[in-house]
């Protein structure tokens, strides 16, 4: 019999290890894509167009997940698309987290005018509709990987700032912070030594969620053709192309969608798993 605590532990284990497994496999595949992809993701062959996946009759050996209307290999394109997706997830997620969490921590702990300035900035920022804002940003910056990353950071830092600010305020009211101040810890020391470790679990959960969101945002921008150059395979771009041929070749839409779904799910579950792991009460 499992008691309550080991139940949590057990579930936390699966929640942690399944996402880690999927994400590290995907990460490895993304890095090795040029070597392990069975075909050139850009190579077109009109004689091999709309081949179905391997278990359906009428397929060609070697094209495991079929081909699109131009005869490009879906599996190879998903593997190459993973490079873009993960690169955006990791860089955009991390930069957003660093900027947002730092501002949130400063506002929530220092209060006063620092809080007023940052909080008003967040309010103003959140009044912009995010999708329009990102499209506008890309239009100004021009399409490309860097633009996507900048757009995500610029739009989403408020997510971290708001949550971390609230958390820092809660922690700042605790008696242990008062004790640290009495003992002579300075404001910065109190912030980094006392508050930060207690805010960190929340930050990590948000970070993994943000990575999932970044994957989606990249897909949305590719879907509306505002991502990187249209030749390079991206999951969003594949979904957009697959949508128009859904009745003739469903696999062109479905497989990148599954990859996207599993990746975003893995990121959010990874956050939950890490939180259970970090929480000193459950540890």
């Amino acid at each position: 019999m499992l008691d309550g605590r080991s139940m949590i532990r057990h579930r936390a284990g699966l929640r942690l290890w399944l996402p880690v497994l999927w994400l590290s496999a995907l990460g490895l595949a993304a890095i090795l894509a040029p070597w392990i992809a069975p075909h050139d993701p850009l190579a077109q062959d009109l004689f091999l167009g709309r081949l179905p996946p391997f278990w359906v009759a009428g397929t060609e050996p070697g094209y495991w997940l079929g081909t699109d209307s131009l005869g490009r290999d879906v599996l190879s394109r998903i593997l190459h698309g993973a490079r873009v997706a993960l690169l955006v997830a990791v860089t955009a997620g991390t930069i957003t987290c660093l900027i947002g969490a730092t501002l949130g921590l400063l506002a929530g702990f220092l209060r006063g005018w620092v809080d007023i300035v940052i909080s008003r900035l967040i309010d103003i920022w959140m009044a912009f509709p995010p999708v329009l804002f990102s499209i506008l940003l890309i239009a100004v910056l021009g399409p490309g990987l860097t633009s996507i990353i900048i757009a995500i950071v610029v739009i989403d830092w408020t997510r971290f700032a708001r949550v971390v600010r609230a958390e820092a305020m809660t922690q700042g009211a605790m008696d242990y912070v008062a004790s640290a101040r009495v003992a002579g810890r300075g404001r910065i020391g109190t912030m980094t030594r006392e508050i930060l470790p207690n805010v960190l679990p929340t930050v990590v959960v948000l970070l993994t969620l943000e990575m999932g969101i970044a994957v989606i945002v990249e897909a949305i921008l590719s879907f509306v053709n505002l991502s990187i150059s249209t030749d390079d395979p991206t999951w969003g771009g594949m979904i957009a192309e697959g949508r128009s041929a859904i009745h003739q070749s469903w696999w062109v839409l479905v497989f990148p969608l599954i990859a996207l779904f599993l990746t975003v799910l893995a990121f959010s579950q990874l956050g939950e798993g890490l939180k259970d792991r970090f929480d000193p009460v459950l540890r």
Partner: protein, 289 residues
């Protein structure tokens, strides 16, 4: 000469009503002063003002806080913080939030000694072991390796007491240190604080709303009503003959375990009205300047 001397200290909510009205009190070296009053009377506020941890929503409008003869309010924030850190400590009210949940107990006691007071790590660790043994914790080594959530409330309060005495402060502010504990543990903790105080010769500002606690641990007593000190007496005199009608009524309101038939005696309305009139008269005087 008193180690802590508060002179005419007034604190108010920023652009709001006064919270402390020209409070004066002294704590001599090695002496225990009780600070009693109803909820909201400002007793914790005094402790916070002394330790420089007033919430940002309030401000000090006048007065002096002399710590060993130096007015803390005239020093730069950095200097006053250093002076407070070197000579004062806090035993907080709620042991559940007074320890950092992310750090083990040992470092919570030793880090401040090492980082702020410049002790060597070995000296600080030895000190922590001695103190944890002194607060009667069995298996100090295991407790020092624990996280706060692994310990009971009473155990955590013992740790906080040990931690407060770690740097041999001259003054400890104990902010209702037994309020969050159940009655049997309260008694042990109280005995522990009194014993530690006597052994270390530390002055203690003991904030409480329990006159029974005052009787057991304190030598001097200040009674507060609405941020005003209405009585300042040696404890023996207070229990023999309280000088102010409000503190007399407060004393009469304490339930007597020896006479359960006597019932409860709330502070009479007439006394409340009288003391409120005093506060109002004070405010009028203050408004005239």
């Amino acid at each position: 000469m008193s180690f802590l001397s508060i002179r005419n200290l007034s604190v108010r909510l920023k652009n709001g009503p006064p919270l402390l009205r020209r409070v004066s009190l002294d704590v001599a070296a090695g002496e225990v002063r009780g600070l009693v009053g109803e909820s909201g009377a400002g007793k914790s506020m005094i402790g916070k003002a002394v330790l420089g941890i007033l919430p940002p929503s309030v401000e000090i409008t006048e007065g002096e806080i002399l710590l060993d003869g130096t007015d803390l309010l005239r020093l730069s924030p950095k200097d006053s913080r250093r002076r407070i850190g070197a000579t004062c400590a806090l035993i907080p009210q709620d042991p559940l939030t007074a320890l950092n949940p992310s750090h083990r107990i040992g470092p919570q006691i030793t880090d401040r000694l090492v980082d702020i007071l410049g002790w060597t790590r070995a000296a600080a660790e030895a000190r922590a072991r001695d103190l944890v043994a002194e607060v009667q914790i069995a298996d100090p080594a295991r407790v020092l390796r624990s996280y706060p959530h692994e310990l009971s409330g009473g155990m955590r309060q013992r740790i906080l007491i040990a931690s407060a005495f770690a740097a041999e402060p001259k003054l400890i502010v104990a902010d209702e240190p037994t309020t969050a504990l159940d009655v049997t543990v309260q008694k042990q903790i109280l005995k522990l604080i009194a014993g530690m105080q006597a052994r270390h010769g530390t002055a203690l500002l003991f904030v409480t709303h329990d006159l029974g606690v005052v009787y057991k641990v304190c030598q001097q007593l200040s009674v507060l009503y609405s941020g005003m000190v209405v009585e300042d007496s040696p404890v023996a005199d207070f229990f023999a003959a309280p000088r102010h009608p409000y503190s007399a009524a407060l004393l009469a309101a304490t339930p007597k375990y020896t006479d359960p038939g006597a019932g409860l005696h709330p502070v009479p309305d007439a006394v409340i009205d009288a003391v409120r009139a005093e506060v109002a008269a004070f405010d009028r005087g203050a408004a005239r300047g």
